[in-house]
């Protein structure tokens, strides 16, 4: 059968056949539903040859991650480069970075859906999948960085024989709630949107076993008007639920630092500043993945330069927010009376032993987005790709810089001590990267990463029935 709204759901705009040019540019080529189905579903049923190899490769690298995790759990956190005073380093950096990346997906799917931004259509599932897998990576570290990870459940409130409960003033307790909620919601959101396309695959697939497989995962979807209606409503409600999470989750994560007394951590601007940073790095990651994907799958006519341009603008906005946050942070330290804070932000970071780190961060996060003022850069896939890479590097280094500078030289000069990562630290980072890619490639392999049904709807919306 062919999907398509018989009667538009409430949350869906009424057909507007005189859509503005920039909107039409989102779908330059006029295609029939059948053509769309053929083009997109074929890619799942007959994937490109390179895909298998890539999956195997990333899978192998993920094994390294597993090895490092096991080694750390059996030997102790001592195999990392951490020390006293620098008791947090790569682990927490990776956690904050990954969870931040996760934010773009939900932002795109939820916020832009509620704001009825049409350009989200071709990229939202892509972004949601990315979110999901990023949060999976993020979830590894809070567990792993604990000295006794096997007691992680003490952070969950339950009636224990000890008659004691978690300590709810600590932001770490809230991290557990935040991350798990975020994982659940983004999974549901992703899957709910996926169902119609799974159904389409069920009907489209040649072999019986495949049809069965997709049938099960489509949860018995039959594209009746009511089903569509329910799905759209549920989708909208989840969006409404996910939208606040975008703000809350990373605010809570930022509390891991903001509630500390350390100079450079003890600051009230962290929540907004972290959220902006999260979306910043998230969009960068979306682009990093999207640009090669659209090329390899030859989908430039569905994921157009128009899309890139819009996302580049998001980068520009969030990037400027970040830069502003940096300025405010330093300014406050300068005018504020706290000599330790001043020492940290005006001396240790820009001029201390970690100065190179600091200036790289400034260059990547504040410098590189400036290029995006130019339309040519925004619309050039190659430039964007390189820029997004620098931005992600910048955001990762920023987390690291934030953590280790404040820890390595806080109040008493006698305990000041630097930090040097070990091989395990590096391997864990690389491991999560490849594990992330591994999951992502699986996603490309087994489901259409462009929401076919929504695309058809958009098509109908922009041009009417072909």
């Amino acid at each position: 059968m062919t999907a398509g709204p018989v009667e538009p759901a409430r949350l869906w705009p009424t057909p507007d056949f005189s859509a503005p040019a920039d909107q039409v540019a989102l779908l330059p080529r006029a295609q029939s539903d059948a053509e769309l189905s053929a083009e997109l579903l074929e890619k799942v049923l007959h994937p490109p040859r390179w895909l298998g190899t890539a999956i195997a490769l990333t899978g192998a690298c993920s094994a390294v991650l597993a090895a490092c995790v096991v080694y750390t759990l059996l030997t102790g956190i001592g195999v990392w480069g951490n020390n006293i005073p620098v008791a947090w380093a790569f682990g927490i950096t990776n956690f904050v970075w990954w969870i931040g990346i996760g934010h773009a997906g939900t932002f795109i799917s939820a916020f832009l859906l509620l704001l009825e931004q049409r350009w989200r259509t071709s990229i939202n599932r892509f972004a949601e999948a990315m979110t999901l897998f990023a949060v999976v990576q993020a979830g590894i570290f809070p567990l792993l960085h604990m000295g006794r990870a096997w007691f992680f459940y003490w952070l969950i409130p339950y009636p224990s024989t000890m008659g004691v409960w978690p300590q709810f003033r600590s932001s770490l307790t809230w991290d557990v709630a935040a991350v798990s909620t975020y994982l659940t919601v983004s999974f549901l959101f992703w899957y709910l949107g996926l169902i119609p396309d799974l159904a389409a695959l069920r009907d489209y697939a040649p072999e019986r076993w495949r049809r069965r497989l997709y049938a099960i995962s489509a949860l018995g979807w039959h594209g009746s008007a009511t089903t569509w209606r329910t799905q759209r409503i549920a989708y909208g409600l989840l969006a409404a639920l996910a939208a606040p999470l975008v703000v809350s989750v990373h605010s809570i994560v930022s509390m891991d630092f903001a509630i500390g007394v350390l100079p450079g951590w003890h600051s009230t601007i962290f929540p907004p500043y972290f959220v902006a940073g999260a979306i910043y790095s998230g969009f960068a990651m979306v682009l990093t993945l999207l640009i090669p994907a659209r090329r390899l799958y030859r989908l430039e006519h569905l994921i157009t330069t128009e899309h890139l341009d819009k996302m580049a603008k998001m980068l520009l906005v969030t990037g400027s927010l970040i830069s502003y946050a940096y300025v405010v942070e330093i300014y406050l330290a300068w005018v504020g009376g706290d000599s330790f804070e001043r020492h940290m932000l005006l001396w240790v970071r820009p001029r201390g032993p970690f100065a190179p780190l600091f200036w790289t961060v400034i260059a990547c996060n504040c410098g590189s987005p400036l290029f995006l003022w130019s339309r040519r850069v925004r619309r050039s896939a190659l430039c964007l790709f390189t820029l997004t890479l620098t931005i992600q590097l910048g955001m990762w280094l920023e987390r690291l810089m934030l953590i280790i500078t404040s820890l390595s030289a806080d109040f008493l000069p006698t305990i000041a001590h630097g930090y040097r990562p070990t091989v395990i630290d590096g391997a864990l980072l690389v491991g999560t990267l490849s594990f992330f890619l591994f999951l992502f490639l699986l996603f490309l392999r087994f489901v259409p990463f462009i929401p076919v049904s929504e695309l058809k709807a958009l098509q109908f919306e922009l041009r009417g029935r072909q």
């Binding site: 059968m1 059948a34 189905s37 053929a38 339950y158 009636p159 024989t161 000890m162 008659g163 004691v164 069920r202 009907d203 489209y204 697939a205 040649p206 019986r208 049809r211 069965r212 049938a215 099960i216 018995g220």
Partner: protein, 226 residues
């Protein structure tokens, strides 16, 4: 219309009808898992298998507390002599057993291990019944001098042919009493009395007793964990 689409539409149903109910059941179960697993674990921790409550331990010598405590009326402290002055209650040295059993039951086969332990010097090896984790520092002396009777934690040992634990010494168990000690207190004269119960006292006399004994157990962590 492409070929596949035609085929898929014409094709017979993928699953028989009954699979629907299976499918729904499956969904229901998946939903139940997050609730049921913790519940099971919670219950498991409280089973006698884990806590060891009421499970007598075999001992090298068939020492019967019923006989010694109830019939002979030997006071707990006669054998567990350190209970009033030390953290550990103290297990009777073999010489203490021999104090009587060099006179009576000198031929009993039951007591062969005791005599052997005493004369050959190969010590008796008893099996521990009540056991605390290694990070818990319990002190008998402060409890028995503070008005907490043996029976409160060890139960009616005088009714035990073979000693078994009557309480799982979880933190809850200790903290419950530390938070509200009044009802568990008894006059120092009744510490080793297995049958005395605080019901005999009225609420006001219990309160008075509490004041006399100056019972203010701490609930600080370092009271037990150091």
């Amino acid at each position: 219309m492409t070929k596949q689409e035609g085929s898929s539409q014409a094709g017979e149903p993928l699953f028989p009808v009954w699979t629907n109910s299976v499918f729904r059941l499956a969904l229901a179960l998946t939903a139940a898992v997050p609730v049921s697993i913790p519940a099971v674990l919670w219950a498991w921790e409280r089973t006698p298998y884990v806590t060891g409550i009421g499970i007598p331990r075999p001992q090298p010598v068939k020492f019967d507390h019923r006989h010694h405590v109830r019939d002979d009326g030997i006071d707990c402290i006669y054998c567990h002599a350190d209970v009033e002055r030390s953290a550990s209650a103290g297990m009777p040295a073999t010489s203490v057993c021999m104090g009587c059993h060099s006179q009576i039951w000198t031929e009993s086969q039951e007591l062969a291990p005791v005599r052997q332990a005493f004369f050959q010097g190969a010590p008796l090896v008893w099996n521990r019944v009540t056991r605390l984790p290694q990070f818990v520092f319990f002190n008998h002396s402060v409890h028995v001098n503070g008005g907490v009777g043996c029976v409160s934690c060890h139960g009616r040992v005088d009714d035990m042919p073979q000693v078994y634990a009557v309480a799982s010494f979880t933190m809850e168990f200790c903290v419950d009493c530390h938070r509200a000690p009044e009802d568990r207190l008894r006059p120092l004269s009744q510490i080793t009395n297995m049958t005395w119960s605080s019901e005999r006292l009225g609420p006001e006399s219990r309160a008075r007793l509490g004041r006399e004994l100056d019972a203010q157990p701490q609930t600080d962590c370092t009271t037990c964990h150091r």
